[in-house]
């Protein structure tokens, strides 16, 4: 039995339950997704676009799906300490794949902004959600179709025309369950013309006794002259795998920053599809991954220049230690007519041990003469001269190595526009390299209310 068939079976035999506990707008997309999966398999290692990562293996364990929407009692709002110091955020949670508001979420909201359960908004305001839900995601991709077939909830973020959100939005994804579980997470982000928002997403696993899989599809619509930042930090456990697929579309004069940070996890695969459909867009795509143990981290980017005078910049960096492995496959596509495009891509990797492995495959596809494009990929080791220089000043070898690995990540951290988050990231990266539990503000201990434990 293929990994996919167990989920198709869940859908076929529990369709009524799934639909009863979701929203009509989402239900309308299920059959099409189901049909596309007929006779298919999830991509295996070696499939085009999946050379080093088997999605089949990722989904193969017998994960449960919470189709009955059983509430898992996680007292997030009381005890969760995932706050970023010196930064006040509008916070909400996704526990497994259910939306949970923080106690103060609604009274902090600027006029007209929606940050809420996707199923709830889709029920209350189907016209709004149907305009965006499942419009960007590519259901020809088996993992996307699987998500569309099963997704029952998620998060809707809607920032109406001209609204500039001063406070960043923070979404905390949490896994906690009493059995192996797949979280079918779905995010729709709409930033209308002239609006501005920053979103911080953190992935955590509270109870790492069980295996988890996060299947996450994000659709982001960035309107004319709008600005959206997405910072996505994965700090889960080695029992948690993640396949996150972002589909973003930028209208003219818009700006998008996406920065994905993998600190801890099991097997991680991130896809970034960005379409620049209007003129004069700026797109910044950063990625940083730190691997150790048996972690595997695969980042895949596809930036599509469909219009003129756009600028895109990609920087992916990876430090791999011990037995960890990494992959990067990145594409820049410049369509005919997308003249005066500037598109850059850089992938730099550091192997800190003899057994760590990195696979990198940069690609350019250009159908236009008047462009400036470049790509580059390097994989190397720590600079022996720098290491000796530091040791000669008395810095112990392990500390010198750690400092150099941290220094390697500095330019990806500098891509973050929120100062408080930049400081926080430096701290998290430092802790990560010093081998400490790199959870936000020691949340590994304080996630659960200590009084109850």
């Amino acid at each position: 039995m293929s990994a996919l068939s167990q989920y198709i079976e869940i859908f076929d035999s529990h369709r009524a339950t799934i639909e009863a506990k979701s929203a009509e707008v989402m239900n309308l997309c299920r059959q099409d997704a189901r049909n596309r999966l007929e006779g298919k398999r999830l991509p295996q290692k070696g499939t085009e676009g999946y050379e080093k990562t088997s999605i089949e293996d990722m989904f193969a364990p017998d994960f449960g799906v919470n189709i009955n929407r059983v509430n898992i009692p996680v007292d997030v709002s009381l005890s969760f300490k995932c706050d970023v110091p010196n930064m006040s955020t509008i916070m909400a949670f996704v526990v497994n794949d259910s939306f949970v508001p923080s106690s103060t979420l609604h009274n902090k909201m600027p006029q007209g902004v929606i940050i809420d359960s996707l199923a709830k908004v889709a029920t209350e305001n189907p016209q709004l959600v149907s305009r965006y839900y499942n419009q960007l995601a590519d259901n020809d991709n088996e993992a996307v179709a699987l998500n569309t077939m099963l997704a029952q909830d998620g998060v809707m973020i809607y920032v109406p025309r001209g609204v500039v959100m001063e406070r960043p939005i923070q979404l905390v994804n949490i896994f906690n369950s009493a059995a192996p579980l797949m979280g079918v997470r779905r995010l729709v982000i709409v930033v209308e013309e002239g609006a501005k928002a920053q979103l911080l997403i953190c992935d955590h696993t509270q109870n790492s006794e069980y295996r988890y899989l996060s299947s996450q599809v994000i659709e982001a619509f960035v309107g004319q002259n709008a600005s959206l930042d997405i910072y996505d930090i994965e700090e889960s456990s080695d029992t948690t795998s993640r396949y996150s697929q972002l589909y973003a579309r930028q209208e003219r004069d818009s700006q998008l920053i996406v920065n994905g940070v993998t600190l801890t996890g099991g097997v991680t695969r991130n896809d970034y599809h960005i379409e620049l459909v209007g003129d004069n867009c700026t797109s910044t795509l950063g990625g940083m991954a730190i691997g150790s143990g048996h972690q595997h981290i695969d980042n895949n980017s596809d930036v599509r220049h469909l219009s003129a005078h756009c600028n895109s910049n990609q920087l992916f960096k990876c430090v791999l230690d011990e037995e960890s492995t990494g992959a990067f496959e990145g594409a820049i596509y410049v369509a005919p007519g997308a003249q005066f495009t500037e598109a850059y891509q850089s992938n730099r990797n550091l192997l800190a041990s003899k057994s760590a492995r990195m696979h990198t495959k940069p690609q350019l596809e250009i159908y236009n003469d008047d462009v400036k494009c470049s790509h580059g990929a390097t994989t190397g080791q720590l600079d022996a001269d720098a290491l000796f220089y530091m040791r000669s000043r008395g810095i112990p070898e392990q500390e010198a190595r750690t400092m150099l690995m941290q220094a390697f990540m500095v330019d990806v951290i500098d891509m973050v526009k929120m100062e408080g988050l930049r400081d926080r990231l430096r701290h998290l990266v430092e802790k990560r390299f010093y081998g400490q539990q790199a959870s936000c503000a020691d949340c590994g201990v304080t996630c659960r209310d200590p009084k109850k434990d």
């Binding site: 720098a386 000796f388 530091m390 008395g394 810095i395 400092m403």
Partner: protein, 257 residues
């Protein structure tokens, strides 16, 4: 000068890289308060000697002993040689993008304090120390906030070396071609810094091609290193002779033996 006290005692040191022997039995004794100059033609092994003493892992020591105030230097990791009081001013200081000078020096200083079971310096003590030591070589505060040596001019890099030396207060400093790439003003500042740091308890080994630096840092002994051995030792006058006559006469003398 204390003649009984030996700070560094190098005996029959042989070392090389990738199977090629470069040092072929070096003997050298340095006492506290002394300044030694090591001169010699290109390829004689001057920089190899300084690298081997500092513990550069790319060189392999095949024979000999190095005693550093009672400690077997060759057994120590580079970081512990530093803690024990050895300092190498690099001919080519390494640029380390992403590591700030402040973090670099704090890590170095606190590692040394830890080695001697001392508490780390508080932030204000540390900054005060940095400020004091910067004055020794007139190092701009702006450089201190940048990444280690990144984008520094040749002169700034060498001043930064002496600044680090001032902070770490070594017992023995080895200045490897500190004069290379310096204009006369930078040279004066760097040499002035070295002289300010000189006490009767510490010692300096100056490795140089030219007499020029020795006008500013006065040596007590001048050694000529040639083909991996110290082939001649004299007083400051030897440097002047070399400046006048070059190395050929010494080469001929040795090669004809």
């Amino acid at each position: 000068m204390n003649m009984d006290n030996i700070l560094l005692d190098v005996k029959n040191l042989r070392a090389g890289i990738e199977g090629k022997e470069i040092l072929k039995g070096v003997n050298l004794t340095v006492r506290p308060g002394e300044v030694h100059a090591i001169m010699g033609p290109n390829g004689a092994g001057k920089s190899t000697l300084s690298s081997v003493l500092a513990g550069d892992p790319s060189f392999i020591v095949t024979e000999g002993e190095v005693n550093f105030h009672g400690v077997n230097l060759l057994e120590l990791a580079p970081e512990n040689r530093s803690h024990e009081g050895l300092f190498l001013s690099f001919q080519y200081p390494v640029e380390i993008p992403g590591v700030s000078m402040v973090n670099f020096m704090r890590a170095a200083l606190n590692a040394k304090r830890k080695y001697f079971n001392q508490e780390p310096l508080s932030a204000s003590e540390f900054l005060k120390l940095m400020r004091q030591k910067r004055e020794v070589v007139e190092l701009d505060n702006k450089l201190a906030s940048r990444s280690v040596n990144e984008g520094f001019s040749g002169g700034e890099k060498k001043r930064n070396e002496i600044f680090q030396m001032a902070v770490l207060e070594p017992r023995l400093s080895i200045l490897d071609e500190t004069d290379s790439g310096l204009d006369i003003d930078a040279l004066r500042i760097v040499a002035g810094g070295v002289n300010k740091l000189k006490t009767s308890d510490n010692a300096t080994i100056v490795i140089t091609h030219y007499q020029r630096l020795l006008d500013y840092i006065k040596p007590d002994f001048v050694h000529v290193l040639y083909k991996g051995r110290i082939v001649r030792t004299g007083g400051p006058e030897l440097a002047l002779t070399l400046e006048e006559r070059g190395y050929d006469w010494i080469k001929q003398e040795i090669d004809n033996k």
